[in-house]
Amino acid sequence: MEKFKKLVSSVVPLPLQDVDTDQIIPARFLKATTREGFGDNLFRDWRYDSEGKPNPDFVLNQGGIQGEILVAGKNFGCGSSREHAAWAIYDYGFKVVVSSFFADIFKNNALNSGLLPVQVSDAFLAKIFFAIQGNPSAQLEIDLENELITLQTTGESESFEINAYKKYCLQQGYDDIDFLISKKLEIQEFENATAI
């Protein structure tokens, strides 16, 4: 996994609530057996029409709006547990997703894929959307070390939470399996003694 430090970037706004993982990557594009390439079909059915032509109304097709931070409405990533959703967002080029609420499984999947989910208050989320409306190139700063998100246009900040272990993993590019493998002896003992 790539190491995550500090990120300053313009943002892509998606001001919708309850964006489910079927929208992020529809099931018919889950047939690959590798992790790469899912970004091509990110938000496929919102991004393209039934003939495969780009939908000019969708934010990813509006040339002026770009960035490595996706900002979405409440309850982002609900529904299917497909980790492919996190892979698709990362593969497209996003490093951070900001929302006021994330679905549980998506949050885990994102962290396991090197994509940082940043949960902010409803009020701060509204400020971000408002800032982008006024200035599409408005930037956000994501400071993982200090757990701080800053709206560059106004200088307003909010702290976000991430547990110390996951923060360390992201900063070091270290993954859970490395950690679990280091516990193999304890696991074997537990299994021998108690497993059903």
Binding site: K31, D45, N75, E83, N108, N163, I177, L180, E186, I187
Partner: protein, 463 residues
Amino acid sequence: MGRTLFDKIWDSHVIHTIEDGPQVVYIDRHFIHEVTSPQAFAGLKKRGIGVFNTSKTIATADHNVPTKDQHLPIKDALSKHQVDTLIKNCEEFGVELYGLGHPYQGIVHVIGPELGITQPGMTIVCGDSHTSPHGAFGNIAFGIGTSEVEQVLATQCVLQRKPKTMKIQVDGALRKGVVSKDIILYVISQISTSGGTGYFAEFCGSAIESLSMEARMTICNMSIEMGARGGMIAPDEITFDYIKGRQFAPQGSVWDEKLTFWKTLKTDEGAVFDKEYYFDAAAIEPMITYGTNPGMGIGISEKVPADSDTVNATLKKALNYMDLEGDRQLLGKKIDYVFIGSCTNSRIEDLRMVADLVKGKQKADHVNAMIIPGSKQVEKQAMDEGIDKVLAAAGFELRQPGCSACLGMNEDKVPTGMYCVSTSNRNFEGRQGPGARTMLASPLTAAAAALTGYVTDVREMMN
């Protein structure tokens, strides 16, 4: 202070706790399928390691399989590749596979319980958000992502933060035409698709206790649709009777030992949950969804919410996608497809329920009615009971087991713009195929719609 059933099972499976971090949780049973496992096996190969304990993982092929002519090779090249990759990985790593053609094949969450692999007190995971139905047996079952599938294959553990606990108590008697699917659609409509996020739910109360195991699985299945990590129901005599005698159920003296342990699995008197909800079963009528998430549900006689005086972009977008007007009933709305199947409602009891209603009747000419049994065993039992003939005589097509049109990944899809009354679990945009319009309902309400061709109040068809 008493402890919840969730706390008891969870805590007894924790091997290690990372300070200000997740816990190492031991997993008793791991189910895998072709869609979310290939990258996990690839990860093991890259690290040069094997499966930690092959006896704890069971595989089947369900998402990509056709539901017709399963004896022939899969036509779609990518689907075939994914199923073939599962076969190859299971062979290479020594994992038991109930693949196409095997008498135990079926939807992963149908076969675990029916084979007796799913038992009380366990921790169970699968790379699939609908792992929750196993929880109906009084265990902790939840969906995981592919990186976590790799964790379980490599170490038989996952790193997880402990969810908070939630109690959902439903008391009273269900009214005519109301079944377990209606209970869970009602609960989700009340607490929303994010109301359970961060929690693990225990369903209890007299309405839940009166349900069969199949009906309990339907309820737990959709706990993910309210955002919960999973749902569980304390085991009782109904649970033990269901498990006894199944292929992988304990036998002889082991059965007696297990039974003694299983009988201890309940939430203590006075245990405190982080959140509690109480519902009255008598307040629930047959449910149907109008929108594009499972929380957008109403009683069959109610009106779709009005969108005119609201700035709710999500509701507006949903009604626009569904091409429905707010402030109107769904009753009488013409429909095109009926899908009865999925890990929510494809068990033998669901098929019996449908057969009882449609026996001696005919489906509407303009409706395409698909019924997909959850497994080879369900299919066989349906044939043994003559259900296949009843359905065929009524114009319904009983196909072969798989996830089918629940998720628009295999050949079975609902065409663009068409309305489908579906017993599955998700009505997201495009879930049953690009542009498909899904209305979630119980097998009874779905069967009633197939007979009339319109959204129908099934109670009017029942004596």
